[in-house]
């Protein structure tokens, strides 16, 4: 991204091959972590669209994630609709809910917008607890079916993992096209200087709202995958801590970097698991790791290959 040197092609190729070849060799728990990393990577990419390219902050992405997850969960259980119809429905409904944050983003910026998005996430979570007629409240939704592909149920986690990888690759490709397009350039300009961007003919309102709608749609897709992967949902998984966790993934990985979001998801999801045997010390170590990364790689893990930090002039 930007003037940072991209990761060497060789490293990318190794990562891609490893993502395909290694999981069959992994223990079940490690494979589970890989699936979750993939799902969170999609969620982090959706947030990166808002933070990295549009320059706005959302701390309510767990709300979008929830809407996508519950849409799939309820459609496939209570209404017996197949996953492949529930997935686009999740994307559509979540994208529409993106308007709820896209419109305030036109009037408020920076930390004001951040607080509004926190409120959004909390309202959505509260509704999922209290609208029992729709969401079954704290009981949650159970027995969510796995997708069926060409007559085969993706019951095995390995098969599901590959589904996640394919969708993640598609999101990667979509985001990449998006950035090199005039649309991505305009968003970057808008992040830098709204007024100047407007004077260049950029329709700020349309770009901001579109960024939120697209981002929400992708987050909804991650939610849909999550619901059918874990097969049981309840509102606890979708709190502010989750929103912040996704935000940390984006920041640690590198704001505005696609590969960085994936790297960040891996680091933020897997490292605590690795450190778990340390019990009470693990939060301390995790905190230190985050601080060290931010101190020495302010552009995130994505800049690990470039020598100089991408300081803003």
């Amino acid at each position: 991204m930007m003037s940072r040197r991209p990761a060497p092609r060789a490293a990318l190729a190794v990562a891609a091959v490893a993502a395909v070849a290694v999981p069959p060799l992994l223990a079940p728990y490690a494979l589970h972590l890989c699936v979750m990393v993939g799902i969170f990577a999609i969620l982090a990419l959706s947030l990166n669209l808002i933070c990295g390219w549009a320059g706005m902050i959302s701390l309510g992405h767990a709300g979008f994630w929830l809407i996508g997850a519950y849409t799939t969960a309820l459609l496939t259980t209570d209404h017996g609709i197949a996953f492949w119809w529930a997935l686009p429905a999740s994307i559509g409904i979540t994208a529409a809910s993106g308007l709820l944050l896209g419109l305030p983003s036109l009037r408020w910026n920076g930390h004001f917008l951040a607080v509004i998005t926190i409120a959004f996430g909390m309202i959505v979570q509260t509704l999922s607890v209290n609208w029992e007629w729709l969401t079954h409240g704290n009981d949650g939704v159970s027995n969510i079916p796995r997708p069926v592909l060409f007559g085969h149920r993706l019951g095995a986690n390995l098969a599901f993992y590959y589904l996640v990888v394919v969708i993640l690759a598609a999101v990667w490709a979509l985001m990449h096209r998006f950035i090199v397009s005039g649309y991505g350039r305009a968003l970057k300009a808008l992040r830098d200087d709204e007024v100047a961007a407007a004077c260049m003919g950029v329709n700020i309102a349309r770009f901001k709202v579109t960024a939120f709608v697209l981002s929400a749609g992708i987050a909804g897709m991650a939610g849909s995958l999550y619901a059918s992967y874990v097969r049981f949902l309840n509102p606890d998984s979708f709190g502010l801590d989750t929103s912040i966790r996704v935000f940390v993934m984006v920041v640690i990985g590198g704001i505005g970097s696609i590969g960085g979001s994936i790297l960040g998801s891996f680091a933020v999801y897997v490292l605590p698991e690795v450190l778990r045997p340390l019990q009470q010390y693990y939060y301390v170590i995790w905190g230190v790791v985050v601080i060290v990364v931010m101190r020495f790689l302010p552009g995130g893990l994505a800049t690990i290959w470039s020598s100089a930090p991408p300081g803003r002039e």
């Binding site: 200087d193 100047a196 004077c199 260049m200 950029v202 329709n203 002039e313």
Partner: protein, 239 residues
């Protein structure tokens, strides 16, 4: 090309413009001069609808522009070089120029327009892969002007292009503005530097406390006692 009549605008209860009239004809270079806080930038912002106005009429090429958002004005042919340059610092020089062309040009047009900008400012070609934020002030000003020219504007609004520049750059920028005008670009130049502005402009307006207090051919204003006193190094007599 541009006509402003009885424009009043302000921020909250503070009225920054108290009836501004100005006119820019096709092909003209008109200067709007005045000291700090006279309302020059507010006039520009009101023309672009970045500040709401409470009264008055603005028309661009005969069409009223009230409630036309700034990005649409850009597409209709108003190019802006904003105060303080406001280049997109984290983008490269080339990306800045591409953005300038976003509003009105196709891809091949944009390439030709960029070629012309590079001919005008060879230094930008050398630095086209550099971040705009790493350029010197003068180079950034050239980039801001180049960016505005990318959309081949019918009317170019320049807000304090000399601000914060080394004297050598100020001279160069003014020479360039005069040249652009000779090449056919209609220009409204907003400046504090009255001496140089009145040298290159055909006509000028003097703004004071939100009102146009003087206007006329630049050659006459250069010798007008009030202008000489206030802006051209005369005594600050009885004012």
């Amino acid at each position: 090309m541009l006509s402003v009549r009885g424009l009043r605008a302000g921020y909250g209860r503070i009225e920054a413009l108290r009836g501004v009239d100005l006119e820019v004809a096709v092909g003209e270079l008109v200067a709007l001069i005045g000291s700090n806080g006279a309302g020059k930038t507010t006039t520009l912002k009101a023309i672009l609808n970045l500040v709401p106005h409470s009264a008055g009429r603005i028309a661009f090429r005969g069409e009223p522009t009230e409630r036309v958002p700034p990005h649409v004005l850009a597409r209709r042919g108003i190019g802006v070089v904003p105060e303080g340059r406001r280049v997109f610092a984290i983008s490269t020089v080339q990306e800045n120029l591409e953005l300038g062309g976003l509003a009105r040009t196709t891809r091949s047009d944009a390439r030709r327009a960029m070629e012309r900008v590079f001919e005008t400012f060879p230094v930008l070609r050398e630095r086209r892969r550099q971040r705009a934020g790493s350029l010197s002030g003068g180079e950034q000003q050239m980039l801001a002007i180049g960016r505005a020219l990318m959309s081949r504007p019918d009317l170019l609004l320049l807000d304090e292009p000399s601000m914060g520049l080394a004297p050598i750059y100020v001279e160069a920028i003014f020479a360039l503005i005069a040249r652009l005008n000779r090449e056919g670009v209609t220009i409204l130049l907003i400046e504090q530097n009255a001496t140089l502005s009145l040298e290159i402009a055909a006509r000028a307006y003097v703004l004071e406390q939100g009102c146009c207090v003087l206007s006329g051919p630049a050659a006459e204003l250069r010798h007008h006692p009030q202008v000489v006193d206030a802006y051209l190094g005369g005594e600050f007599a009885d004012r």
